[in-house]
Amino acid sequence: MVVYSFYIFDRHTECIYSKSWLPPAHSGAANGTTTTAKSAADDAKLIFGTVFSLRNMVRKLGGDDDAFVSYRTAHYKLHYYETASNLRLVMLTDTATLSMRNVLHQIYINLWVEYVVKNPLSPVEHKGGAGVRNELFELGLDQFIRGLM
């Protein structure tokens, strides 16, 4: 199993955290850092647009209780998890990976709630990702994901 990348979107649809486990050569090519950063932000926007539309479509067809879990292409699989507070977690993995719903749920309860929400110094709204990239969260996430691979 290989995890490619991970994104968190808040209820204001903003990408407040993203992390890639791809070797740097893979993700950016030779375009220089500014374009890489820009394309990463564009990727996040595209991903949000996609999962948001898919989720709405799924709900329209399957009823309000239906949840969109993942989709798969020839090259990757995208896993989606949404909390009742409209926090959305997205993870890209290789195509052979089984459902990561549980993994995303664990990230939410054991890392997000413990290290970001309960951190008294982190703001309630994470505008521009404020308060998310703290050491405990980053370390915990990295260890957790590497433990899976």
Partner: protein, 192 residues
Amino acid sequence: MASSKASRLGEEVWKTRMDKVNAELVVLTYGTIVAQLCKDFDSDYVEVNKQLDKMGYNIGLRLIEDYLAKSNTVRRCSNFRETAEMIAKVGFKIFLNITPTITNWTSDGKQFSLVFDENPFADFVELPDDGRAQDELWYSNILCGVLRGALEMVQMQVEAHFISDVLRGNDTTEMRISLIRYIDDELPPEDD
């Protein structure tokens, strides 16, 4: 049926997943906060109520995430009645180990009361004897704010206020909660 399911969930989460703190520590800490606010605002109890509500609101915004994580909630409540059940039997149970009674529904299902038979904030408490606190101070007003903040995060705009309190000499402690509206999902900004 849904109601006994909520009770069981609340019971189980309370027993297995919650860290406990000494109840007297809670009473004294909360009492100190209220007393300090009364001092800071020169016994302007209307302002104290407002401040307590605001503090609660900020707590609620965060507390909801802990609630969702601990109770393993994956889906929204399907109606406001279910929400009320979950607030009383899971929310209050796991954080304060009390289960207020849900009563006095309006016929449109948008307003109900929570009656607190016990209130862990109010042990040993006597309101100031200045002739006004009895009529103006809502001692446990922080709870209204908590509910307002927590429900806002799960897209319900509500209004909550106390209408009676045993500390004021009423027979019961009752909070009134009204659903104002469900908040729509935010949409991503249009690209230009």
